[in-house]
Amino acid sequence: MNKGLLTITKQRALTSHVMEITCEGPLTKKMTEPGQFLHLRIDATDDLLLRRPISICDVDQKQGQVKMLYRVEGKGTARLAEKLEGMDIDVLGPLGNGFPLEVTKEGETALLIGGGVGVPPLYYLSKQLKAKGVKVIHILGFQSEKDVFYKEEFTELGPTYVSTVDGSHGTKGFVTDVIHHEGLTFDTLYSCGPTPMLQALSTLYPDRRVFLSLEERMGCGIGACFACVCHVVGDETGTSYRKVCTDGPVFPVGEVVL
């Protein structure tokens, strides 16, 4: 049963809209797989009924601490941003299937591509890949210079490129422009971000070793409500499906319809 309370130990703003929250609690012991998410009950009032899915960004197993980065988007994340140190959050998780580490061997190169709030789960992934002896390269895509976060943190782990839509920082354009520009190659590509980005990567590398993390509105988060399903590529019956919450959020390229 992956359910428990986490206690907030720190909360700080990374940009005008993105917050970093650090929590501790026994549940962190189970948070070993990068790309998994936590399903947060922001508070106990009845006007926010659904939990919010947020990716695990980093775990410090020694301290028993987990970090999440989130964008203040609507009612739930706005209320989360008001929480103070010492307050508890009711959490389900870790949930879902994360990024597979075993497919990438020591000495191989992994390219990690994140867009916006798709960036956070790649951090824990990168740390684990690096620890294993994999060469990590990062491309982080943002709207604009003021939206950039965690560039230094990623740079400490490996070469890190940034693209911004308006060109105010790094390469102007999209993450795919960086790949071409810099002539980057990889053995495995791991990515998380907006659907158009994932679609572009699928088109570029339909037959390579590519893993994509999807986003979908969720109900239960544990596979019971069928809120988060997607179609399977090549399914003739039309009734095959995958659940983002339990089969994903990470899928190999070409498995599900984006």
Partner: protein, 309 residues
């Protein structure tokens, strides 16, 4: 004596709590969180004759104190439910309420004929909120004589008692309730979701790709209580009450309104342990209210000779 036990046609329940159809899948996921044998019964996801994928996503949206869903009755189809889902549930000694949906009367009949033969299916729950293809998509549950016809046909083939799950989106819930009772329903389930919509301000389009969806959660509880209070006074068949239940207090409120058992839907998403938690809290609440057996609560808000006053 088990003071929480309730007795309804086909359903001998150790307590009045069951998860609501569509909010608990076929039980497997929640079995990771608690022992399903604690439940009074389990209402499984709507089953249709053929497998269905359902609607495009987004399929859920949050509303104030509620949520909208337009899952579109995704399910693996009758065959798979019979061969995979129901046998898996047999490991638990808990009666199953099999929710049945369709687009024509024949669908319901075919599905019920088979599902009602399953060993652990103790009752059928007819989801009559589905659009009726032959009537241009108007829900079966909004026209009394059609709801009655559906009930009658299904009763003809069912091996177990049939509960008709009423849609609240009607002018006169009593009229529908009476019609299905007369047509032979053994019980009622109420209420299904209210039809609602939310619009995304930035996309300038409904959030759900289906446009509208079903509103559930605490927001609709007062509507459910009102309808159960109205209907329970005029029918002689028991009611499984639902709509926004989250706490033991809510369960008592539904039973005082006239429900004989209850189902918990949306609250499972907020808290996967809500069903066992509510069950655990009931005895202390009964003590506080001076109630010996929970069945004594049924209809307590209107029953003249009620032994709970």
């Amino acid at each position: 004596m088990n003071r929480l036990a309730v007795h309804l046609p086909g359903l001998s329940m150790r307590n009045p709590i069951m998860p609501a159809s569509g909010c608990f899948g076929f039980g497997k996921e929640y079995a990771n969180y608690f022992d399903l044998e604690q439940l009074g019964a389990i209402a499984i996801k709507a089953t249709t004759a053929e497998a269905r994928f359902g609607n495009p996503t987004p399929r859920v949206a949050e509303t104030t104190a509620g949520m909208l869903n337009a899952i579109g009755l995704q399910n693996p189809g009758l065959e798979s439910v019979m061969t995979n889902e129901l046998p898996w549930l047999e490991r638990y000694d808990v009666p199953i309420v099999a929710n049945v949906a369709g687009t024509e009367i024949d669908d319901y009949v075919a599905t019920t004929a088979k599902l009602s033969t399953a060993k652990n299916v103790h009752a059928i729950e007819l989801n009559i909120s589905c659009p009726n293809v032959k009537q241009g998509g108007i829900a079966f549950g909004t026209i009394p004589h059609i709801a009655a016809e559906l009930t009658r046909e299904v009763k003809n083939v069912s091996k177990v008692p049939v509960y008709v799950k009423l849609s609240p989106n009607v002018s006169d819930i009593v009229e529908i309730a009476r019609a299905v009772e007369e047509a032979g329903a053994d019980g009622l389930s109420m209420i299904n979701t209210l039809l609602g919509m939310r619009i995304d301000l930035r996309k300038k389009a409904p959030i759900l790709s289906n446009g509208s969806g079903g509103l559930s959660g605490p927001a609709i509880k007062p509507v459910a209580i009102r309808m159960i209070h109205q209907v329970s006074q005029v029918v002689d068949i028991p009611i499984i009450g639902m709509g926004g239940i989250q706490t033991a207090e809510d369960v008592v409120e539904f039973m005082l309104a006239g429900a004989s058992a209850v189902a918990i839907g949306t609250a499972n998403f907020t808290d996967p342990l809500v069903c066992p938690t509510v069950i655990e809290q009931l005895p202390a609440l009964l003590d506080e209210l001076g109630i010996e057996k929970i069945e004594d609560l049924i209809g307590g808000s209107w029953r003249e000779t009620c032994n709970v006053r």
